[in-house]
């Protein structure tokens, strides 16, 4: 096998996981196809069914330009003015207050529960290093 598979092969793998996730969702799993595909993809990488080198380039490319993929949906806000204007105060207040509440709850709770442990950059302990062997 080649050291690094090209973009096309990696992209095909990602699309494949997305389709499997979507299929499972259609059959009745209450989690959307993309998220389900992500969890399956993660499991496949962790269990070494997939080699990271096969998908590294394609994943990195898609992630680096993920913002581009959100642009058409966001442009769609231009059509929603009329719908939002009738309840604009309730919607805007709910959005802002709830956004701040989530951000700060998660942030403050995170500072308390997720201390910057030394395991962050490079795992040093024997057990972690074993798991990290790629």
């Amino acid at each position: 096998m080649m050291e690094r598979m090209d973009y096309l092969f990696g992209t095909a793998i990602l699309v494949g996981f997305f389709l499997v996730g979507s299929l499972l969702h259609r059959v009745g799993v209450p989690i959307p196809g993309g998220v389900l595909g992500m969890l399956l993809f993660y499991l496949a990488l962790s269990s070494r069914l997939l080699k990271p080198a096969w998908v590294e380039r394609a994943s990195t490319l898609l992630l680096r330009h993920m913002v581009l993929l959100f642009v058409p949906l966001t442009v769609g806000l231009m059509d929603m003015g009329k719908l939002l204007s009738r309840q604009w105060l309730a919607i805007a207040a709910s959005l802002l207050i709830s956004f701040l509440a989530v951000l700060l709850t998660t942030g403050l709770l995170g500072r308390w529960l997720l201390p910057a442990e030394p395991d962050a950059p490079a795992p040093q302990t024997g057990k972690a290093a074993q798991g990290a062997g790629r």
């Binding site: 994943s59 993920m66 913002v67 581009l68 309840q87 309730a90 959005l95 951000l103 709850t105 997720l114």
Partner: protein
């Protein structure tokens, strides 16, 4: 209908979108505070209004780009794996943090709208506003909300997180990579996560975990809420 027939071609929308995105990235590189998502959307809206092209026509091409969000979401599993070893011990705690954030997000969104006398369907549309679009739409349907309102709120919550999220966290003296990732992923799903990818791999990784967990928790909590309401 559009004034020029060639603008109805899907290739036109895709080309305009990529051009606007590339220009937005260049601006972002020059001035850090320029948000790529906002800077890319404004010129597109201007062009559409100028050409009198309705969004539905633009979105024939735009939909091709939106479809790739599926495989891109899958790709988030890659940094999750790469940093999985370093993160594994903190995952149960991260889940707890995200769970608390999701509960707070759903209740504050619903309560605020309710206190301002919004009709029940609008209140219910606000509840799933923190999670990724496909999950939010499903939750909204389950709670008898209005999907279009949910979509708009989800996108706005994402844009808020991508633009103001990190500055607000800084003001609260929250600077740790994991804390930033957890907060942005829980509050602003994929749009927030995408904005972190260029900042730090660790932030984006924790954000991916948080976004996935928030989506799963929110759909489960909403299913419970829907059962309670039917009762």
């Amino acid at each position: 209908m559009s004034a020029f027939s060639w603008t109805g071609n899907p290739v036109f929308s895709i080309a305009v979108t990529i051009l606007a995105y590339a220009a937005a990235l260049a601006l972002h590189r020059r001035w850090k505070w320029f948000s790529p998502i906002v800077a890319a959307c404004l010129p597109i809206v201007a062009v559409l209004l100028l050409l009198r092209e309705p969004y539905s026509i633009y979105n024939r091409g735009g939909g091709f780009l939106t479809w790739w969000l599926g495989p891109a979401t899958v790709a988030l599993g890659f940094p999750m794996h790469r940093h999985g070893v370093a993160l594994r011990r903190s995952l149960p705690r991260l889940a707890l943090v995200v769970f608390a954030g999701s509960v707070v997000g759903m209740t504050t969104a619903g309560l605020t709208a309710w206190l301002l006398h919004a009709p029940l369907p609008v209140v219910m549309s606000a509840v799933p506003k923190s999670v990724t679009t496909p999950i939010a739409i499903e939750v909204c349907r389950e709670l008898n909300g209005i999907p279009q309102i949910t979509i708009a709120m989800v996108i706005l919550a994402g844009v808020l997180g991508a633009t103001l999220g990190v500055p607000i966290l800084r003001l609260a003296r929250l600077r740790d990579d994991r804390v930033i990732g957890a907060a942005i992923g829980t509050a602003s799903h994929g749009i927030g996560t995408a904005s972190l990818v260029r900042r730090s791999e660790m932030q984006a990784t924790v954000s991916s975990w948080a976004m996935a967990a928030a989506g799963v928790f929110t759909s489960l909590l909403a299913a419970a809420l829907a059962m309670l309401m039917r009762w």
